[in-house]
Symmetry: C2
Subunit: 197 residues, 2 copies
Amino acid sequence: MPRKKSPQSDRYHHGNLRAALLVTARQLLEENGVSALNLREIARRVGVTAPSAYHHFSGLEAIATALAELGFEELAQQMEAAPTNEKGRLMPSGLAYIAFARSNPALYRLMFGERFAAKFVDSDSLKMLRLRAYERVKSGLEKRVSTESIAPGALFLWSLIHGLALLTIDGQLRHEADPEAMIISVLRLAGTGLPPS
Amino acid sequence: MPRKKSPQSDRYHHGNLRAALLVTARQLLEENGVSALNLREIARRVGVTAPSAYHHFSGLEAIATALAELGFEELAQQMEAAPTNEKGRLMPSGLAYIAFARSNPALYRLMFGERFAAKFVDSDSLKMLRLRAYERVKSGLEKRVSTESIAPGALFLWSLIHGLALLTIDGQLRHEADPEAMIISVLRLAGTGLPPS
């Protein structure tokens, strides 16, 4: 496909315009939610024509997929960068996971929401990235539990942090005096279980 | 407001038409997802005019609120109806919760999704019903943990079942040979925590 020659797109190298569109899409998503995502509006904000934007993204689903990929990459990176403490890295990784969701609530909802779920199922790169986040959860378990306990243990941890992330960005901790302390208390229960009666 | 006298609405008593619209809305939701919810289509399926439907629901947000109310009522009822076993009712309630989400995936997503979240925050009845589901989780804990552990314990349980419900209806257990056994293993970890290394 020949390179577009509109004056606007001359302002960007090919890769730069794609990146600029993604940055703007992400801002728009966090400002106004997933229903506000619109490729023409993204192009307008970046200052290029709609056809220049369509040159990089075939439509809304393509840009949503790219945003979700970006989100899973950042989430995995932030979990991997979490420090190891004396008890391993489950708590730091869990805190990094919740922090990512709280800093990027609309992106987090997009990554796991149903709006583009049918499209995401078709994306091999998203499947890989989602698996990588899951592997991050699992790897913390491997030294800790027997082989047959890894799968339920990983699903237990992922359910807990996914549910806690969503309830937190839904405002469930809105009236909590110290939300961080509550998050730590909840995550700590993953290691101990509920106290017996 | 005078009662509508269109021939269609004569087929229904006031309450019956409201109920019929809700039943159809719920079917449409589960068939095609939240984006397919449309008051005109619901009216068409029920066989009444759009104005007859608007007489009961001012718009899409009103019908979504009514559907979420219905969902929270059923969820609480099903958790309350769960049998008590020798260890209390946390496991049976948890299984009832997951079963509700699996049987009503689109309704469950609607109840907790962001699509109507801003509207739901304004609904006192929804606030009450959501609180009732939460109280149901808490009441299983009251005999089990100290007063100061109830809040983190309840948020721990709710995060776990909410996350597990969503990952399950997202297809995370799709390749599991025995999804029910996996769900039980995960919920059991709420009582024990992850095994120590």
